[in-house]
């Protein structure tokens, strides 16, 4: 389900079936690393949206958790935990954070739902190759989510 009225109507009717939230983590920056930062966010959003398509009936894809690259990790974590707690308080059993920002890799242990993958410069790829790259990475995300569901 997407964060859209048409999907959320269905979500509210079938809440007992939709126990998973996917939250893309999207960084913002205007410094020298702006282009790379944009790519990381774009890629994470593309992967998250493709994963949502596959798991439409059990997953709610939320609007991205956005943060400034200059924001201290401790601050980000504090805010992210608030989002996560809010999800869990409302009946969500599984919360997954998908991101290409390497910053999060350092705090993986504190963030059990984190799924990290390297970003690719999609704008340089032909449509056909874009599809391949996305499919490959979506598979990582799907595998991880299905494993957690089974356990």
């Amino acid at each position: 389900m997407n964060w859209q009225a048409i999907d959320v109507k269905r979500y509210l009717q079938n809440k007992e079936y939709i126990d998973t939230v996917i939250l893309p983590l999207v960084p913002l920056s205007w410094e020298s690393d702006m282009l790379a930062t944009v790519r990381e966010g774009e890629f994470a959003l593309a992967i998250a949206s493709a994963a949502e398509r596959e798991l439409h009936g059990r997953v709610l894809l939320c609007p991205p958790f956005a943060y400034l690259k200059s924001e201290a990790m401790s601050e980000r974590m504090k805010r992210l935990k608030m989002w996560e707690n809010e999800c869990r308080a409302n009946g969500t059993k599984f919360v997954f954070f998908v991101t290409s920002d390497v910053d999060w890799k350092r705090v993986e242990e504190e963030c059990p739902g984190l799924i990290w993958f390297a970003s690719a410069p999609l704008e340089h790829l032909e449509a056909r190759h874009q599809k391949d790259v996305i499919e490959e990475n979506v598979e990582i995300v799907l595998k991880r989510i299905r494993t957690e569901w089974r356990s």
Binding site: R10, N14, Y17, I18, R53, E54, L55, H56, G57, R58, V59, L142, R146, W149
Partner: protein, 169 residues
């Protein structure tokens, strides 16, 4: 005078001419009306635009996953929608193209990926299952069979159209 029989009188000539011109004008007026009247028929033909997916000779009795894209317009926003079909021949040799969108809540089902239930379509979300022909297995969440695509064979190629529900369960 044998010639006389083939001659046309002035009156006949005028009659023919006026009838010809009159008929032409009437046709000019009627043609657009007829076009309007049968327009729904013509439009339906155009709306059912079908997409070339694969060669008929490559279709076996084992379902294969094929992706294809169709042009969609949502308000002013034009985009390509990716679609998936599982294509195979049934026991009677009839080509079947199933849409793998689970009829429960819309996850994408996969063919034969659950060792506990071989030769079935299986939904990763809530354990919904369907037989090879897409009929939902009773006792699993889906309320109806998988939808089927309209199929058309032309010049040895398989074309797919819209997916349609099948009703019944």
């Amino acid at each position: 005078m044998s010639n006389k029989e083939h001659d046309v009188t002035r009156r006949q000539f005028l009659n023919y001419t006026l009838m010809g011109v009159g008929g032409f004008m009437a046709a000019g007026m009627l043609a657009p009306m007829v076009r309007f009247a049968i327009d729904p028929l013509l439009r339906e033909e155009k709306g059912g635009k079908m997409v070339d997916v694969m060669a008929v000779k490559d279709i076996t009795t084992e379902p294969v996953r094929k992706t294809f894209s169709v042009d969609r317009v949502d308000g002013w926003h034009k985009f390509k929608e990716e679609k998936i079909a599982y294509i195979f021949k049934d026991d009677n040799g009839k080509i079947i193209a199933l849409s793998p969108v689970c009829t429960h809540l819309g996850c994408t089902v996969a063919w034969n990926d659950d060792p506990a239930h071989p030769n079935q379509f299986h939904c990763p979300c809530h354990g919904g299952r369907y037989t090879k022909t897409g009929i939902n297995v009773p006792g699993t969440p889906p309320p109806e069979p998988l939808h089927v695509y309209e199929t058309k064979v032309k010049n040895g190629r398989l074309y797919l159209g819209e997916e349609k529900p099948r009703g019944g369960a």
